[in-house]
């Protein structure tokens, strides 16, 4: 019997500091045992439990795309006991990965549609996975227009800066990068909050799905704009966070009404959320 609590041992291959406050780092992980790599088959939008022996586990969205073979990427914000311990670790150290867990973005429904991705702050990790997945040469033709609106407080707080710049130069994806404010005279992208930029750029709702991930305040002000633009609640997709332990719908803490965010989510449509109790 496969034990769903057993973390596969992985080696930290490299660590990259993502943001100027050094509070976000991306960990590239490589499986210690080839058979575990074969068992870990994820889709963009899923998460995994990162396990540090002696500290515990944390649920983190998978930032690498399934098309990136041989490793996994996780971008981790330093917040508590486990993330702080992880931030102290270096290449060569052994941790564990348990998953993939939860549902993914609804890729069967997104196929053939335009996809709009709206992200804020460090909630851009599974969005990165999604963009890399859709831009893969084998996948790009399966989707219509791809539009990305991504904002952070300052230029230095943006994740995946090099990739953002590279995407920005491509002609098969439209990228709107924005910051809340900056005094950098060389900043050549947008300045303004994500909801404002969304209103300004007004990505068409025709044949489109939108995925929105970000801090609660960003979500709160972006949703009405999306409704105005004509996005029905069934095509507004969000990913939720909760305190989790087991990650497999058993330990009982991450429920919103009948739904366990770890197993029945973390991805829900706005239509689904409006039928659920307001306790998140």
């Amino acid at each position: 019997m496969e034990n769903p609590y057993f973390p596969y041992p992985v080696r930290i291959d490299s660590v990259a500091v993502e943001t100027e406050d050094r509070n976000l780092k991306t960990f590239k992980l490589v499986f210690e045992k080839p058979e575990h790599q074969g068992k870990f088959v994820h889709r963009a939008g899923q998460f995994a439990e990162l396990s540090i022996a002696g500290k515990g586990e944390i649920p983190i969205g998978i930032a690498s795309s399934p098309t990136e073979k041989g490793y996994l990427l996780f971008t981790v914000n330093k917040v508590g006991l486990v993330t702080t311990a992880l931030h102290r670790m270096v290449a060569g150290d052994i941790i564990g990965v348990r998953g993939p867990l939860g549902n993914c973005y609804p890729w069967d429904k997104l196929e053939g549609m335009n996809v709009v991705i709206i992200g804020g702050g460090f909630a851009f990790t599974t969005l990165r996975a999604s963009i890399v997945y859709m831009l893969h040469p084998g996948n790009r033709s399966r989707f219509g227009d791809i539009t990305v609106i991504y904002g952070a407080r300052t230029p230095g707080m943006l994740l995946y800066k090099e990739e953002l710049t590279a995407w920005e130069r491509r002609d098969d994806i439209l990228v709107h990068i924005t910051v809340d404010a900056t005094d950098n005279p060389d900043w050549k992208y947008n300045v303004g909050f994500v909801p404002t930029i969304t209103q300004e750029k007004a990505p068409s709702a025709k044949d489109s799905y939108v995925i929105v991930c970000g801090p609660p305040v960003m979500i709160k002000f972006t949703l009405p704009i999306l409704s105005e633009l004509g996005y029905p609640p069934e095509r507004i997709i969000m990913s939720l966070e909760m305190r989790m332990k087991c990650g497999i719908g058993m330990c009982g803490r991450c429920n919103i009404g009948t739904e366990y965010v770890c197993k029945d989510g973390p991805v829900f449509t706005l239509a689904q959320l409006s039928q659920m109790v307001a306790e998140y």
């Binding site: 019997m1 540090i52 917040v79 058993m250 330990c251 429920n255 306790e279």
Partner: protein, 347 residues
């Protein structure tokens, strides 16, 4: 071989024989507390008590359990690798479990043995444990099993049902495991028609003796959002002190926490019972807490049992009517009253 009658005095002998090569659990009294314990002598078992203070859930989900161990010694090749701690899954027999508590195991199977995931520790223990139940001739005043799809002699979840006939016991095998047990031990004599009739009369009398009733018929159809937003939660939660004793004694409260503990260079990953009554249960790393208020936590517990579980599994409420929470609550919050409020028939 499926219905045997033994003299009451033979029971310790039967248990003693099983103990020779198996682990046997039964209700044991310790001071004022009663709970299921691993017997070291057949005489420790006490079948003259009503529902045990603690439910037998720890037999399947121990209050604290080591899952994995690891070394942090960097000099060792396997440093930081977790390995599963072997558990003893040899056959176990539980004597004297009440039908309500056996039913609770069945309800918890829905959580621990889902189509997608199997909790290995729960599933292995369930599979290797034979439940020899003892029906309730004299239910407590707080028992309401008959209104939640259960009863003092309900067979659900049991392998053998024992009926106390006075000087004799009727042992009825209900499952393959139950047949095996009666066949292997070869106890007693085949029950006569008169004995079976006498047992049925006892079952009937016990059912009649349960005076406590709760309404459940409207729970499924009522709007989840309406129930969540109902005004009565303010009153229900008012006296609650969030002590968590209801969750501690409840046979259908299964929530758990997973922690790592380290001593010197080695450690274990373990799980402990946890409870939705505690703020830490849902506290995010960011400081945000979706159930920061006491009202939210009290509501979560009752909504989970009487609405979320009902809607999610279409298998009735997650309450077996054992009455433990009613007996133990220090501020007299009575789940039977909450049934009435939620079902919508309270005055």
């Amino acid at each position: 071989m499926s219905k045997r009658v033994i003299d009451k005095t033979e029971l310790p002998d039967l248990i003693g024989r099983l103990m020779e090569s198996n682990r046997v659990y039964a209700p044991v009294r310790q001071n004022d507390m009663t709970s299921f314990k691993l017997l070291t002598a057949a005489e420790q078992a006490d079948f003259n008590l009503s529902n045990t203070t603690l439910s037998p859930k720890s037999l399947m989900l121990p209050q604290s359990e080591w899952l994995f161990d690891f070394t942090l010694d960097k000099a060792k090749k396997e440093t930081s690798f977790l390995s599963e701690i072997p558990h003893d899954y040899s056959p176990r027999f539980v004597f004297g479990i009440r039908p309500c508590d056996a039913k609770a195991f069945q309800l918890l199977d829905l959580n621990f043995h889902s189509p997608q995931y199997r909790d290995p520790w729960w599933v292995n223990r369930r599979q290797t444990t034979t439940l020899v139940g003892l029906g309730c001739n004299n239910p407590c005043t707080t028992c309401f099993c008959t209104s939640v799809g259960n009863g003092p002699f309900a067979a659900d979840g049991l392998d053998v049902l024992i009926t106390d006939l006075g000087d004799e016991l009727l042992l009825e095998a209900l499952t393959h495991k139950g047949f095996e047990l009666l066949a292997q031990t070869g106890v007693g004599a085949e029950a006569s028609a008169a004995t079976l009739e006498a047992a049925l009369a006892i079952h009937h009398r016990a059912k009649q003796a349960i005076k406590s009733e709760v309404p459940t018929e409207r729970l499924k159809d009522r709007s989840l959002i309406d129930l969540f937003n109902a005004d009565f939660w303010e009153e229900v939660q008012f006296a609650c002190i969030n002590c968590g004793v209801c969750t501690f004694v409840c046979p259908t409260c299964w929530c758990f926490d997973i922690q790592d503990e380290v001593s010197k260079n080695s450690g274990v990953r373990l799980r402990n019972w946890d409870a939705c009554m505690f703020p830490l249960f849902t506290l995010h790393g960011s400081g945000h807490n979706p159930r920061a208020q006491k009202l939210q936590r009290v509501r979560q517990r009752f909504m989970h049992k009487l609405k979320y579980f009902v809607d999610k599994y279409d298998n009735g409420v997650a309450c077996v009517g054992c009455g433990r929470c009613v007996q133990q609550c220090p501020v007299n919050i009575d789940i039977r009253w909450v049934f009435q409020l939620m079902n919508g028939l309270a005055d």
